[in-house]
């Protein structure tokens, strides 16, 4: 049903208002002996109302559970992209009726090969809103509430309102932020045990080409997303000397144009940076990269490759998204119903050669920056500059920060050392970058408060001198 078809939408609403009591259901749909069921959701109600022989001990089949799934359980879907569209469909058809979706992106032509809730006419519109409209029209019993916002625009109070959170994101930073938010919401009692009412389960899906994974996190109890942060692929960075002096691959030529030539030539005006979504920008880079490649005898610079390098494109296809989102949705259903033991805690899928999957349990990392209660140590030398320390925070496999801002206390007074994301503060603190830690007044055991986009909360680090 096309979204713009208002008439169909109205009819669908009329159906939603129908009462599916016995009177309205034809005889073959009625199942005597069964508690009253909505015939639409027979598959789910069979599972919920019939006792199982392989279900968890604490699973109690009862109409209240069905009512919980359908009317009380509030699920947040983070991301309305390839996984998000699938998740909305899957959860709606599993009987969840109170779905919420956050995505600040707008629809692009290249989304249409997999993000099946969007059409050509929707290009440029909000993903969250289009996805919500489509599901609300197609499955009128379900209400999807869209938020065309960033996850950082919401606070604990917002996230506390959900029963389960499921992420379908392509950004590692956003995943880490969400993970940090859910961890920060956990309240502990005097013995250090988490208060279960403050624990919000997180199901996280990710795909790349024909590979994907699902992770299940019970914040504060099982391994969190950062416990295995070293699993995240490091960003591909070509060494500057290769780009500048000894290019060998077409990618090196493209990087050269982007990193060195663009700022020098400013082809689209002073101060205008590369816009990966502007075909004129990509064409210019591609042309210049071709020139450079020719000069060095390198083959293979194409428009497609240029676009891929500039936008750091991850290949994506409908089928893998479908598989991973389906596994995520099943996990949400399991967590919400306690019918079966939830995934413990990592599922890997790859269908390049046959179909391969495996699941295994990641241990909690006692050193984890996000979920361990331990103070974090970072070693540095007194003569290191503040910039050295910031680089270490970015490159250290346990930290992998993006643009850390640092404050500390010197002689009992609070002092901002560097704050990259607030222009005025950045200008005021920039000179500190070149100063040594000793010069800045650091002592062994200096405590730093570090803020970064990878976490909603500030992190306290202790600097250890050798």
């Amino acid at each position: 049903m096309a979204l713009e078809d208002g008439a169909n939408g109205d009819e669908a609403d009329a159906i939603q208002g129908m009462d599916y009591g016995d009177d309205n259901v034809s005889a073959d749909e009625v199942d005597d002996g069964a508690p009253q069921q909505d015939p639409r959701y027979k598959s789910i109600s069979n599972l919920i109302l019939r006792p199982g022989a392989m279900t968890r001990q604490d699973f109690e089949p009862c109409p209240e559970l069905l009512d919980f799934i359908q009317n009380t359980c509030k699920v947040l879907i983070v991301g309305a992209g390839g996984l998000g569209c699938e998740l909305l469909k899957n959860l709606a058809l599993l009987g969840f009726r109170d779905l919420h979706v956050i995505d600040m992106d707008t629809i692009d032509l290249s989304n249409l090969n997999r993000q099946f809730l969007f059409r050509h006419n929707d290009i440029g519109k909000s993903k969250a809103e289009c996805a919500a409209n489509f599901i609300n029209t197609r499955i009128p019993s379900c209400t999807v509430t869209p938020y065309c916002k960033r996850i950082e625009d919401f606070d604990e109070d917002f996230y506390r309102g959900f029963s389960v959170i499921v992420c379908g994101l392509d950004s590692i930073v956003a995943r880490r932020w969400m993970n940090g938010m859910l961890l920060s919401m956990v309240a502990y009692d005097d013995e250090g045990n988490p208060d279960p009412t403050t624990v919000k389960p997180l199901i996280d899906g990710g795909t790349e080409g024909f590979k994907g994974n699902v992770r299940s996190v019970v914040p504060g109890i099982t391994a969190c997303l950062e416990c295995s942060i070293d699993l995240y692929p490091p960003a591909v960075n070509f060494p500057m000397c290769t780009i500048a002096h000894t290019p060998r691959l077409p990618e090196h030529c493209i990087e050269y144009v982007k990193v060195l030539l663009w700022p020098k030539e400013e082809p689209f005006g002073a101060g205008i940076g590369v816009d990966g979504d502007d075909p004129k920008h990509i064409s210019w880079i591609c042309g210049k990269a071709e020139d450079r490649a020719k000069e060095f005898g390198i083959e293979g610079v194409t428009y497609r490759l240029t676009l891929g390098v500039i936008k750091n494109i991850i290949p994506a296809v409908a089928s893998t998204n479908a598989v991973i989102a389906a596994a995520c949705a099943t996990e949400v259903f399991k967590v919400a119903s306690s019918m079966y033991a939830p995934l413990d805690n990592y599922f890997l899928f790859n269908d390049v050669d046959g179909v391969y999957s495996s699941s295994f349990s990641y241990e909690r990392n006692p050193e984890c920056l996000a979920c361990s209660q331990k103070p974090q140590l970072i070693t540095a030398k007194p003569l290191d500059t503040l910039q050295d320390l910031i680089d270490a925070l970015k490159e250290h496999p346990l930290f992998q920060m993006r643009s850390p801002g640092i404050t500390t206390k010197i002689n009992g007074k609070s002092k901002t050392l560097y704050m990259p994301n607030v222009p005025m503060l950045e200008a005021q603190t920039r000179e500190n970058l070149e100063r040594s830690l000793a010069d800045l007044g650091f002592l062994d055991g200096q405590e730093l408060v570090v803020v970064d986009v990878t976490s909603p909360t500030a992190r306290v680090l202790t600097v250890k001198f050798p």
Binding site: N90, G95, L307, V317, T330, D353
Partner: protein
């Protein structure tokens, strides 16, 4: 829209829409329209073109898929094929839309209740992508199989979703097997999924493995490579040049030295470790005798284990060479086998001297531009000349077979030649062999313990077979009625036990699958009540979608031949039945 028919297709919504579009754009020149649409497609399909390329996309756009069963599984499969731009589909389904469909199938709406499910599904699937054509038939599978078996021969692939009758599946298999059309049968049943691929012979021209050992021919360098290595004099180099020699040249030079000293190349792991130390010794030293940090030498040391002593024809390719189809070429032989034979003749003959044609690909390595590009060109030129030699053999074979000499083009041969190490042929058993009398299915049913995922999935497979037998006997699925589902479970258990006995499961399996264990599985399956849980259908739909794309494009290796998915535990197992 009326009932469609493949022989005389009636206009579908998509055709109407596209003819409307033609009218709108008739003012523009055809060339402009075509160029715009090509550009539009490139952008729309960008994220998948990076996986299977323009040639994979062209194959997909030419493919015609028949889906039997517009069930939740069936429509999810088609969704995953319509989105990436499948050529066309035809749905065969005689059911009407019921309330239950609304709770599991995304491609029906409340307004469609009572209408044909095939019609609703076709309309709602086509609405997603105007590049795709689609039609439907409301005949039963039974009548098509009985009265119009030739109908199925129009398709590239046939998919049978949630067909409960083993007999019907067998009949369908008997139609498709002789004509070589792949059949993908699948089912989402409660919390269990099942996929079976049936194809007599499928050729993979690009298996695209994630991890592979690239044969750089370091042990057996071809003359041009030797000449390049000989032109490099490590002793007469500046410090800068020394630290920029590509690791391939370093290893070639040190292998030669090693061989002169020791009489043979390093083959064992221990030898390779010693050789690595030998290479490391070759780094330049400063005035104090301390070796300099040379990145190229570091790369060379790291590469030793993976690149030295690996020059051999991969086992999979050896198997292709030994295949009777490779020996017994006829005028009807597929191109694949003619080219494999030519590659074999090349490999065992003087040109290859035991080696496959060179692929021409070179991994990136620390080097100055000139040395790298030069090295790359040496490999490329060798790949081209090897492909040309293979092509000469292909032409000769074609002539000998009485085929036209250009039956296979040089560009096709180049493609095979470059990918020689990644060619595969997949042959599954027929459905007859699995479902018919004297089935050897028991050998595949395994497991170490009752908790072993492979045991669990084996037993789910047994239960799905039992469900089919239950359906065959009673005409309904177990657990359909709430009041009798526990009785159905008891009956289902008996069917499962009969099945295990009939196929003769191995002792170990029989011991694990004791009465109590089978009873639990039977109760669980009866609990499903024959209903489809959407997320399970979506999982099966995603997986089948991908397998169909593999079968259509000849890229990546399809499943051989059965997958069972257990959503309760989030595991999958593959079986070769």
């Amino acid at each position: 829209m009326k009932r469609g028919d493949v022989d005389h297709p009636s206009a579908t919504a998509a055709e109407e829409a596209s003819s409307a579009k033609r009218q709108c754009t008739s003012g523009l020149s055809l060339a402009v329209v075509m160029e715009q649409s090509a550009d539009h497609k490139t952008k729309k399909y960008d994220r998948q073109l990076r996986l299977w390329g323009d040639h994979g996309q062209a194959a997909l756009e030419k493919a015609r898929v028949c889906l039997i069963g517009a069930t939740a599984t069936g429509t999810e499969i088609l969704k995953n094929l319509v989105l990436p731009g499948l050529g066309s589909f035809c749905i065969v389904d005689s059911e009407t839309v019921k309330m239950g469909d609304l709770g599991s199938n995304f491609f029906v709406t409340a307004q469609d209740i009572g209408g044909f499910r095939a019609e609703a599904a076709t309309r709602l699937l086509l609405e997603m992508n105007s590049d795709v054509k689609g039609q439907y038939m409301t005949d039963t599978l039974e009548s098509l199989v009985a009265n119009r078996p030739s109908f199925f021969q129009h398709f590239t692939i046939v998919i049978a979703a949630d067909v409960p009758s083993e007999k019907l599946l067998l009949d369908l298999g008997r139609i498709l097997w002789p004509v070589g059309i792949p059949l993908v049968a699948c089912r989402a049943y409660g919390l269990v999924g099942w996929i079976r691929i049936v194809c007599r012979e499928h050729f993979v021209t690009e298996s695209k493995p994630d991890n592979f050992i690239q044969d750089l021919r370091l042990d057996t360098p071809f003359p041009e490579l030797v000449a390049l290595k000989d032109s490099v004099d490590f002793g007469a180099m500046t410090k800068k040049a020394h630290s920029h020699v590509p690791f391939v040249i370093i290893l070639l030079a040190f292998l030669e030295k090693w061989k002169t000293l020791r009489g043979s190349l390093p083959t064992t792991y221990q030898d390779k470790v010693k050789f690595r130390e030998f290479v490391d010794e070759g780094r330049l030293k400063n005035d104090d005798g301390i070796p300099l940090a040379e990145e190229n030498f570091e790369e060379a040391c790291k590469a030793v284990v993976k690149t030295v002593g690996v020059s051999k024809v991969p086992d999979e390719i050896e198997r292709l060479f030994r295949d009777p189809a490779c020996d017994n070429l006829t005028i009807f032989s597929p191109k694949f086998w003619i080219v494999i034979r030519a590659i074999r003749d090349f490999t065992v003959g003087a040109e290859g001297a035991g080696h496959l044609p060179v692929s021409g690909a070179l991994p990136d390595m620390f080097s100055d531009t000139e040395s790298f590009v030069h090295l790359q060109n040496v490999y490329k030129a060798k790949a081209d000349s090897d492909a040309a030699a293979v092509y000469a053999k292909v032409c000769q074979l074609n002539r000998d077979l009485g085929l036209s000499e250009d039956f296979i083009s040089l560009s096709e041969v180049k493609y095979y030649s470059r990918n020689a190490a990644f060619l595969r042929c997949v042959r599954t058993t027929s459905l007859e062999e699995e479902l018919g009398e004297g089935s050897s299915v028991a050998a595949g049913l395994t497991g170490f313990s009752v908790d072993d995922p492979d045991f669990r999935n084996s037993l789910w497979y047994v239960m799905l077979r039992a469900v089919s037998h239950f359906h065959n006997q009673t005409g309904v699925l177990p657990g359909l009625e709430h009041k009798t589902y526990e009785e159905d479970a008891v009956q289902l258990k008996v069917f499962a036990q009969k099945f295990m006995k009939a196929v003769g499961v191995v002792d170990g399996f029989r011991e694990l699958a004791g009465d109590e264990v089978v009873a639990r599985y039977a109760r669980e399956v009866a609990r499903f009540g024959g209903e489809q849980v959407h997320s399970v259908a979506a999982f099966v739909g995603g997986t089948v979608g991908q397998e169909v794309i593999k079968l259509i494009t000849g890229q990546y290796v399809p499943l051989n031949n059965t997958l069972v998915y257990d959503a309760t535990a989030c595991t999958t197992s593959t079986f070769q039945f």
